[in-house]
Amino acid sequence: MSFVKPTFRHPTSTKNKAGFYKADYEGRISTLCAGCGHDSINASIVAACFEMNIEPHKVVKLSGIGCSSKAPAYYLNNSHGFNTVHGRMPSVATGANMANKDLIYLGVSGDGDSASIGIGQFVHVNRRNLNMVYIMMNNGCYGLTKGQDSATADIGSLSKGGSLNEFSPIDMVSLALEMGATFVARSFSGDKTQLVPLIKAAMAHPGFAFIDVISPCVTFNNNKGSTKAYDYVRDHIEVTSEFDFVPIKEEIAVDYPAGTQKSVTLHDGSQILLNKLNPDWNPTDRRSAMEKVQQARANGEILTGLLYIDAKTKDLHSMLETSDTPLNQLDAGVLCPGQSVLDEINTAHR
């Protein structure tokens, strides 16, 4: 185990279009367990931000409490972040977003943080279609308190100690679809080729983007019989589509076969390209996505990929009709009506 992160940069590494090296998007050295799925997600976040040419300080990192919520320390060192309290990240993200609509809000949470203590705020941030990326690192257990079952643990899943979960799981993807999320995806921490473009697309999406990432807990929930173990997930994964995200003004390089290809254009002109592996499902139709998810659950499959997107969505700022200038940049000259208005108000109250 290393304690210091090398500052060495590979001689062939290049800057991105924003003028940053990939190392500029990295964080402090991770203190998560070796082999933790969360570290793979962190690496995907770094890759996605680098490839998206986002200036690091234009990203705001947010989290709640738990192993997953420690993660913002391990990526984007040059981005401000707020490691809030347990289950309350969505509200802080909402307020931060209201203050400055020009930044990118990237929240990470865990299944304990989101599906139990924070389920109220999770539900409502979906409803409000807050423009943010919400990644739930889903390992089915409370890692930081040594492996208690979480609310996403499947019925019949065995804990490391050998106890069987008998409580019905909360499927956060189904919940997000029900609650009005406008971008819903599921992925696997071990599948970076899928996860990186998903995160990029989620950042480009102008509304609430939820990604449930199955991320095995190597220490407390990677045993035989656990449905969140690496082996189990690999055996039951069902990928919905090949997937690519093409930023604005980039040439489309992938070429999927006609008939299965589906492209979604986002508000800024960027495109999501899907090669659907299932002809019955339409990822731009909420009901179709919900049916597909239910079907997969019934079959015991872990459905991954972009499951639903509404690219023409209105986010919370649009609904509240907030000013084009971020609210945190308005000064007293704009905000304060002054004495003359008070004179009118005084008169009206006599």
Partner: protein, 618 residues
């Protein structure tokens, strides 16, 4: 039963059924008294209910300008059969009970020692209006008209207020005028008038305005530069959010695009409301929330985070009767300790305590500056009486040259110039570090804010020495606050008495009246009004310079007294309590009674507001 005529000195109480439109009629009455130039102080005593339960509207009219409640009801307008027996009993000897005689009053309701004035209010209404709902509404206006003649309330003034009220629905003006005249004429034709208690035009109101504290608080937030309000409905703070919204929609639209220079979110609960407002502050906007005691309890976790992560935050607490759900529609000052020390671990918070709507406006605007300067949570400690009743108060003023004090915030250039930036480094010795707003600089100044222990650079630490150092710095910061929060108010140039009273918030109204009564009795007492926590050293000096100090407050546990003892190291033996916690605003009588109890042997009958029978309706 004749007695001398009393002019511009009375308590009128209306007993109604809630949901019948009575409160707007009663408010017309109060405004008309005020418009005649007579100081007036109405209290809406309402149930936690929408329709059908008893509700009272009590109006103190005082030419001398006393705005606290007073014991002894001179006139009771009773139109609620359910509460009538108690209402009749609550009238002072020689007072007046005005009732609807459409139905005959039962014999055993008659009191011989008061005047019983029956007016066929409902019959007049039924004879003149067809729709039952209108009959109910106009009955209220009919009794206003009748009462106006009885006490010489200027009917033209009442009419001008009604005209203003229905400016946008002018069709409603003539039927309202008609109802007023129905009541007025019936009295003129059937009764002797005016009564021995009556009104005369005055100029005692000067340039004052009548406003409720919550309206002023919402307006203060607009003037203070708040752009994000997140809130959750709870009586009695809901109208703070409503006021902010109303004023913001009027004065905060971008003139070019018509878009909003504000964002208001009705949150899913008080926790989320705090989180949102704090998130906005963290990201450089000015955010706030408004709530009451129950909401404060829920927000405790976040309050600790804002304290320890040092995020500016403004919380308006319109206090109501506790504990638990308590008396949601009654007033108290019972959140002083819970707010001063809110959240687990070692925490202390800044409190601003307004005593009138003008201070609600000023202190709310100030709270945003203080929160930014101190990078911490600032509570505005209002209460239901202040927030939801209209009060006669000084006109609102604003210095057009005033700029917002955003505290220590570094921009990109300033940050470049700092050699070794650390978010929590105490470079100025006042306990306050320099903030960098997210998005300021591409490679400098970013930190991960957290509720976990951190070093002066904001990095996670489990080093006990570093942790203790940061906790100590927060106390240095709290001491800095003493020099920034409003100083106490003194009511004498130098000490005149061995004993003194200390009070705060809405207790001020009754305390001021007590001071006058004692002065008139030749026993003036020194007084100090607290406007903020932390307490300044001068508060300790004031207490030290008196033999006994009485802290007057509206809670059971003498919360502010405890806070004074704890924070200033006062000997508990020399600091005594005068309390009121029945949910009704404290009266001068209640203060004097308790003060006298501390002085056995003194003539207690000399100093009371008057010798009338004590009100016991509630």
């Amino acid at each position: 039963m004749s007695e001398k005529i009393r002019v511009n000195d009375m308590v009128v109480r209306f007993a109604n059924v809630n949901g019948t439109g009575s409160s707007s009629a009663n408010e017309v009455f109060s405004k008309a008294v005020f418009r005649m130039g007579i100081p007036v102080s109405p209290k809406n005593i309402f149930p936690s209910n929408i329709q059908g339960l008893p509700t009272w509207y009590e109006v103190r009219i005082s030419g001398q300008g006393y705005l606290g409640r007073r014991d002894g009801i001179d006139i009771l307008v009773g139109v609620n059969p359910e509460s009538m027996r108690n209402d009749i009993a609550s009238v002072r000897q020689g007072g007046y009970f005005v009732y609807d005689s459409t139905r005959r009053l039962h014999d055993d309701m008659i009191r011989e020692d008061i005047h019983m004035i029956g007016i066929p209010m409902m019959q007049l209404s039924i004879d003149n209006y067809e729709i039952p709902r209108l009959q109910q509404l106009f009955k209220n206006i009919i009794y206003i008209g009748a009462l106006a003649v009885l006490i010489d309330l200027d009917l033209d003034v009442v009419k001008s207020i009604i005209s203003e009220q229905f400016e946008k629905k002018p069709k409603l003006i003539p039927p309202n005028f008609k109802a007023l005249d129905l009541g007025a004429n019936w009295v003129r034709e059937n009764l002797d008038y005016p009564l021995d208690v009556r009104l005369e035009h005055s100029t005692a109101t000067g340039d004052k305005i009548m406003m409720d504290g919550n309206a002023a608080t919402g307006l203060g937030a607009v003037y203070g530069g708040a752009t994000v309000l997140a809130w959750y409905p709870i009586t009695p703070s809901t109208s703070v959010a409503k006021s902010f919204e109303t004023f913001a929609k009027k004065y905060r639209k971008d003139p070019h695009t018509g878009k909003n220079n504000f964002a208001i979110i009705q949150a899913e609960d008080e926790l989320a409301a705090f989180g949102m407002a704090m998130g906005a502050n963290w990201n450089g906007a000015r955010g706030f929330t408004a709530t009451s005691g129950a909401g404060i309890s829920l927000m405790n976790e976040f309050i600790g985070l804002a304290y320890f992560a040092e995020v500016p935050m403004v919380v308006v607490d319109v206090q109501r009767g506790g504990p638990s759900t308590g008396m949601p529609t009654r007033t108290q000052q019972s959140d002083i300790l819970p707010c001063a020390y809110a959240s687990h671990g070692d925490t202390k918070h800044v409190l601003l305590i307004p005593a009138n709507p003008t201070e609600c406006f000023e202190f709310t605007a100030l709270a945003f500056d203080l929160a930014d300067q101190l990078q911490t949570v600032v509570f505005l400690m209002s209460d239901l009486d202040l927030g939801m009743n209209i009060h006669m108060t000084d006109p609102l003023t604003w210095d057009n040259n005033r700029q917002y004090n955003r505290g220590k915030v570094l921009n990109q250039e300033e940050l470049e110039a700092v050699e070794d930036y650390g978010r929590f480094k105490d470079v100025d010795g006042d306990g306050i570090g320099y903030r960098v707003i997210p998005g300021t600089h591409p490679s400098k100044g970013a930190i991960l804010s957290r509720g976990t222990s951190h070093d002066p650079y904001g990095r996670y630490t489990e080093d006990g020495v570093v942790h203790a150092g940061e906790i100590d710095r927060l106390i240095r910061k709290f001491n800095t606050a003493k020099g920034l929060v409003p100083r106490p108010e003194y009511y004498q140039e130098e000490n005149r008495s061995n004993e003194a009273i200390i009070f705060y918030g809405t207790t001020t109204y009754a305390a001021l009246e007590v001071m006058d009564i004692l002065t008139n009795d030749g026993q003036p007492i020194d007084a100090l009004r607290l406007k903020a926590f932390p307490f300044q050293e001068e508060v300790k000096s004031f207490i030290d310079s008196h033999s006994t100090v009485y802290v007057i407050e509206q809670n059971r546990d003498a919360q502010c007294r405890s806070l004074l003892i704890l924070e200033l190291g006062i000997d508990p033996a020399k600091i005594k309590s005068i309390l009121n916690y029945d949910g009704m605003p404290i009266t001068a009588d209640a203060i004097l009674r308790q003060l006298n109890r501390y002085h056995p042997g003194t003539n207690s009958s000399a100093n009371t507001v008057d010798n009338h029978q004590k009100s016991h309706a509630l």
